[in-house]
Amino acid sequence: MGPNHMKKLKTHQPFFWTLYRDGFRNMTWGRPLVWLILLKLFIMFAVLRVFFFRPAMAGLSDEQKSEQVGERLTSPAAIATTGTASPEDSQTQFSLTN
């Protein structure tokens, strides 16, 4: 395979492949940013997602999920604290503005 043939092969490489390849190779100030993105994605997907953020309904079928949420909606225990202002809080806050 002579040099001319190699040159011909190179010109047939897809545009986006060469764009990314040469772009990453020639990076200067952008290189730390790429490492930053990779580090962040690693922390997010390999640490936080795996160890801390397992979906609460993982492993359940759709029917089981419907059943679980239906139970939650219709259970009397669903009537609980809402985390909003109490009437006393509201009165105090009204005094700020009226």
Binding site: R54, T74, I79, T82
Partner: protein, 499 residues
Amino acid sequence: MDVVIWSRIQFAMTAAYHWLFVPLTLGLALVMAIMETIYVVKKDEFWKKAAQFWIKLFAVNFAVGIATGIILEFEFGTNWSNYSWFVGDMFGAPLAIEGILAFFMEATFFAVMFFGWNKVSPKFHLASTWLTGIGATISAYWILVANGWMQNPVGTTFNPDTVRSEMASAQAFWEVISNPVAVSKFFHSVSSGWVTGGVFVVGVSAWYLLKGREKKFAMKSILVGGIVGLVGSGAVMLSGDSSGVHAAEFQPMKLAAAEGLRDGGRGAAFTIVPGVKIPKMLSFLATHDFNGYVPGINDILKGYTDNDGNVVPSVQQKMAMGRTALDALAKYRELKDSDPVSAAAARKILDENVQYMGYGHLSKPEDVVPPVGVVFWAFRFMIGIGMLLALVMLLSVWFAWKEKIGGMKWLLWLTIICIPLVYICGQSGWVVAEVGRQPWTIQGLLPVNVAISSLSVGAVKTTFFIFLAVFALFLAIEIRILIGAIRKGPELPVEPQNA
């Protein structure tokens, strides 16, 4: 604090962190695209270098901000699993479209913009720069379609078999994506991004002028950034007006809380700060009629008649109808296999009361009142700072046009101070939008205490502090890289001494 409060704080922190990056992405995208357009039209190398500098800062912001929104989706699945299931059918389409657009448009055209200066023609590069910004803007639209639906759940019906809000037809999808709340939120959010980008560009350029550096670049950047900020401010005001009308129509409690309005009425006054009011202005802003009726918190609790003559039930009545809906839902689910006739009757009762279903979970009427003080002051920070920013942008453009701004140190310092202020303004806007709609995750249908997963407080606290540490670290890195890039400055072409 219980698990609901900790989960809300964690979600709020993540969303607020995400919103540090999004508005600058939207605003800088416009600034750099305009500068590159001038370069392509005038073929002046100065504008190419100017665009490249702002693209560099855009890239830093993009790199640190990228995928921060995905953490919100982690939290949906872990902390808010009931909510996630409830909205899954409705959220699926817009979030999938957003993901595909964000990935393909932004990743593709960002790469061409970033790597392609010497590989594609100037016009192709320019198109890529515009499409990067347009891709980010379209992504924002789909996210705000999802958010707008939570504020005004149109186009869906509750399916008691799946326990989900579902879109039953193409017509329903159209109703969801053309939701007036989503549309006005989109314009309000995107234009606030333009203000952020404009203020950032003007502030950074002002720093160069104060340092006596890059004078031509700074003056030109102030003109472009200032005009973007000014146009953004005008669009924010127009879309804010529309948001106010929608709040009055679909979320009157949010508007009442934002105004601290205990008792409403016709010709309601707008409170600038406690004790200083503009007569009839609130009625005009909410209804576009100086004598329009605006309900206060007590009116909403007790029930009232709206401007169209519709009688709005009291919260106590809504709670009763909500409990009727929940009882009917329980009965339907119990009997649907064994007694179809009774199940059908229960289904009918559910359908008649379903719009108030969420009220059935409340323990007292006052639960529908959000934290008034927080919403009231956040609203004033947003409007007050927003008006200051518009004025500063106007002055910056005017004095840059007159080529006098370089000698006006007070204005240069003011524009720099405006950089943190624009972020406070944007965050305050989200506080009004999200705290103002408490206790609902989905207006009228699902309160926060039912949307939550069964989690321990300790687990949520742990992830909260992990996030806090990680977010603080990445933010510190971004600020450091940004400051380094700003200190280094643009690599401008050398001009003749007499230029």
